[in-house]
């Protein structure tokens, strides 16, 4: 015998009787009728096989959500009576959030983007693990991303994604981005900053932010932002140096197998160069470069990796480059002068003869 279900039914009947018995009760709080049962902590349904499904709604949490001023039946439209005549149907966000809805639910192009995403495609194929809106946004505590209590607020995004992607979450939590975010540095990258949210596309899709040709630009959204990088004390010319390097030029022309940012830095487990575990720590560079260049030795650690010859910090590369720059200008001037002198000389000779 499923005791709790029995109790639930008793509560439902009791609640209904109470509501009927007190005139005007329903007007006091439109939610209260539902909360008579669903407001009780531990109210749940026991499914076939003994699994439990909580049916409890934390009313304070719900009131703080984006839908906090609505009553349950706005979404649960099929719930008309207590006890429920039939099992309430699953509801979907698109019941309201569609173009031209009359209840004023905000509509963005996010559902369309979602349908194109890896999650949307998996759902379409019937993968039971595929997340729908509410898996990230929750059902009853949907909040704006700017709300720090929201599951899609930047500081909670890793946990939200990590509910399914646990091993990634573990790696990320130890990375430079994860530790920074947990310290409250909100400029650090959370999952969605690189993967995007609704238009989260597989990395072999040319539109994806993770497509080899797009990786540098994805990193560049933060790492080429001068004010941000200066504030955080991180070098800002790395992306530019990459794009001007052999790797950067080759990838621009469609050679996807050449190294992009993540080939050397890793992605979820990115660590700063100073960390001995980092793939770009000087002692690990030979191994990292060796993934593609098998003969590389520790010599590769002697010098800068992201070199711009125009930057004084590039040392001898900068000085030699400067020498050539001025030497080229000098040669150019000399050659022009020589031509001019020669023409002038010939002109004089021609006139005198």
């Amino acid at each position: 015998m499923k005791i709790s279900k029995v109790w639930g039914v008793i509560f439902l009947i009791g609640g209904m009787v109470a509501v009927e018995a007190v005139p005007g009760f329903a007007q006091v709080d439109p939610l209260r009728r539902c909360l008579l049962c669903h407001g009780k902590a531990g109210f749940k349904e026991v499914l076939e096989g003994g699994k439990e499904r909580p049916l409890y709604i934390d009313v304070e949490d719900f009131r703080g959500s984006a839908h906090g001023n609505m009553v349950c039946t706005i979404c649960h439209t099929d719930v008309r009576t207590i006890p429920h005549l039939s099992r309430p149907r699953r509801i979907h966000c698109l019941q309201c959030h569609y173009e031209g809805n009359v209840v004023g639910a905000p509509v963005e192009r996010k559902p369309e983007k979602y349908k194109e995403s890896v999650h949307g495609k998996a759902l379409e194929k019937g993968d039971p693990r595929a997340p729908d809106c509410r898996d990230c946004h929750t059902s009853h505590s949907v909040r704006q991303a700017s709300d720090s209590a929201s599951t899609v607020n930047k500081r909670h995004v890793p946990e939200t994604c990590g509910r399914c992607h646990l091993s990634v979450f573990t790696a990320y939590s130890q990375s430079v981005h994860g530790t920074a975010l947990s310290k409250g540095i909100l400029e650090s990258a959370a999952c969605s900053d690189c993967h995007r949210e609704h238009d989260l596309l597989p990395k072999d899709d040319p539109r994806s932010s993770l497509y080899p040709q797009n990786v540098a630009n994805t990193c560049a959204t933060c790492h080429q932002n001068e004010t941000l990088m200066r504030k955080l004390g991180i070098p800002v010319k790395q992306v530019q140096a990459f794009k001007e390097s052999f790797h950067g030029v080759a990838i621009e022309f469609g050679f996807l197998k050449v190294a992009n940012c993540v080939s050397c830095h890793g992605y979820h487990d990115i660590l700063p160069q100073s960390d001995i575990r980092s793939s770009i720590h000087p002692t690990n560079l030979a191994k990292t470069c060796g993934k593609c260049h098998p003969r590389v030795t520790a010599m590769v650690a002697r010098g800068k990796i992201h070199v711009l010859p125009t930057e004084p910090s590039s040392g001898i590369v900068y000085w030699v480059s400067q020498f050539f720059k001025w030497f080229t200008i000098l040669v150019l001037l000399g050659l022009f002068l020589h031509i001019l002198l020669d023409l002038f000389g010939r002109f004089r000779a021609h006139r005198t003869t």
Binding site: E244, V249, A250, E252, F253, G254, F255, C289, H293, P294, R295, V296, T297, M299, V300, A301, R302, G303, K304, I305, V307, P309, S314, G315, I316, V317, V320, S321, F324, K325, F327, T328, V331, L332, L335, F336, H338, I339, L341, D342, L343, F344, G345, R346, R348, A349, H350
Partner: protein, 228 residues
């Protein structure tokens, strides 16, 4: 138009012309494919890469041309060290103090401070400077180019900064070589008054008697003395 029956002198032997042809072909190709990569972020570079058959073919052509240039350099080295003609030519083109005096003299003459232009032998300062500038630059290009070609090997041998330096040297020396070729060599042999727009000497090796006497009077005199 020059008179058909005008007297000509053979200035460039077949040996020199073959070497020049190798050099001309390889260096032109190297410059076209090299500049395309150097300016690959501009529309011109992209257009050139497209015309050169795409990114990969561009690199292939650059390397093929480099082999051609390398063979040309070996040929030249054998020519000057093993043949009498080449050896004599090399001795003629060695730099002497007189060449720098001639340069000063020429400048003074051009601005009107000397009444007579400097007198040159077989090779004047202009040809000598060109030969040595090209020689040094080409050697620089070949050495840096080999390092870049075999970067997988050299990455394990040279420090990273030396690899970066190699790239800077290859690009810069290539640019200077290109400028020198256009503003010195082309001006001197093709575009200067009297030769404009194009001299075919590189093909048939001949110049007119008049040109020989005017531009290489010392060599001319010497030859006449030998014949007497």
């Amino acid at each position: 138009m020059k008179e058909r029956d005008e007297k000509t002198v053979l200035r460039l032997s077949i040996q020199v012309r073959v070497q020049h042809f190798l050099l001309m072909l390889s260096v032109t190709m190297l410059i076209l494919t090299g500049l395309a990569l150097m300016y690959s972020d501009s529309w011109l570079g992209k257009l050139m890469i497209f015309l050169e058959g795409g990114f990969e073919t561009r690199g292939f052509l650059h390397r093929i041309s480099a082999i051609l240039l390398f063979l040309g350099v070996i040929y030249h080295w054998l020519y000057i060290s093993l043949t009498r003609e080449g050896h004599e030519e090399f001795l003629q083109i060695l730099l002497r103090l007189q060449d720098f005096r001639d340069l000063g003299h020429a400048v003074l003459y051009d601005v009107g401070l000397r009444s007579q232009p400097p007198q040159f032998g077989r090779y004047g300062y202009r040809e000598k400077f060109q030969y040595w500038a090209m020689g040094i630059l080409i050697l620089l290009m070949l050495f840096s180019g080999i390092i870049l070609w075999y970067h997988n090997f050299f990455l394990g041998v040279l420090p990273k900064w030396a690899m970066d330096l190699t790239l800077v040297v290859h690009g810069s020396a290539g640019t200077i070589l290109f400028l020198f070729l256009v503003l010195w060599h082309f001006y001197m042999v093709h575009w200067a008054p009297g030769k404009f727009p194009f001299s075919m000497t590189f093909w048939h090796g001949k110049i007119t008697q008049e040109e020989w006497e005017r531009e290489h009077p010392l060599e001319c005199m010497q030859k006449k003395n030998e014949n007497q």
